[in-house]
Subunit: 135 residues, 2 copies
Amino acid sequence: MKAKDSPAEPSSYSISELAREFDITTRAIRFYEDKGLLCPARRGQTRIYSPEDRVRLKLILRGKRLGFSLDESREIIDMYDPAHGNVEQLQRLLLHIEQKRAQLQQQLRDIESLMGELDDAEARARTALQLNIDS
Amino acid sequence: MKAKDSPAEPSSYSISELAREFDITTRAIRFYEDKGLLCPARRGQTRIYSPEDRVRLKLILRGKRLGFSLDESREIIDMYDPAHGNVEQLQRLLLHIEQKRAQLQQQLRDIESLMGELDDAEARARTALQLNIDS
DNA sequence: GCAGGAGTTTACGTTAACGTAAACGTAAGC
DNA sequence: GCTTACGTTTACGTTAACGTAAACTCCTGC
């Protein structure tokens, strides 16, 4: 009963397809791989990106929009896979999650106040504009 | 009727006072001045920071938390002062405000989804932890 | 009168995140 | 068989945002 006839996602992507889609250079994508954030399959020398690789790339770019470094983004992405066997590591992960949450909440507050100030600035600008036109 | 007996804000600050308060180095503060984000008064050679300077510094650091470059932060701070005389400039300012708003809204969405994913990651971690303890 | 602390300028060093360019391989179309 | 497009590796260049260090001034306490 689900509407399953959406554009139908490709099963793999070339490096330039991804570069185009996300408006970044192929150089950047290879750089992320160098830094251990991606490791696409290969056909011969050529990189082949799976839908999962694409998601990882998306996460990297979202991290960038939030001002995260590549290292931070890698940490966040690493929180996803359940490959954290032992208890100690899991507890460190929980701590890590808590820290990220706190950081995001701070960012939320920052955005909120900035939004308010943008409202003020806009109001002042509109007033000044009105004065300039009236005169 | 207002509770006016708060700690009473100082009328000026030294560079090291500000550095301590915001946990940054004096080098950073001077750097921000170099880049035109601050221009404190001077007594002889020595920099004297007004409460307004302090606010500007706060805004710079808030910008950093949101991943803004110093140039971006300067632009945002510049939206505050009403020194934008002519109509053309005011309209450019309004456009600029709109763009920043859009960027902030994107960041809000990014944070929202990331928060959700942190919740998931935490749940998975707790489950895995429970399994490890039970066994 | 001098050591210590806080301030200053000047200048070179460093890290992250790519950009840019060279030099090469491979497959497609004409 | 040659160009054109897309891919590869390797390597040096660049920008932002400071860190670090040297060399100096000025004031304060003892």
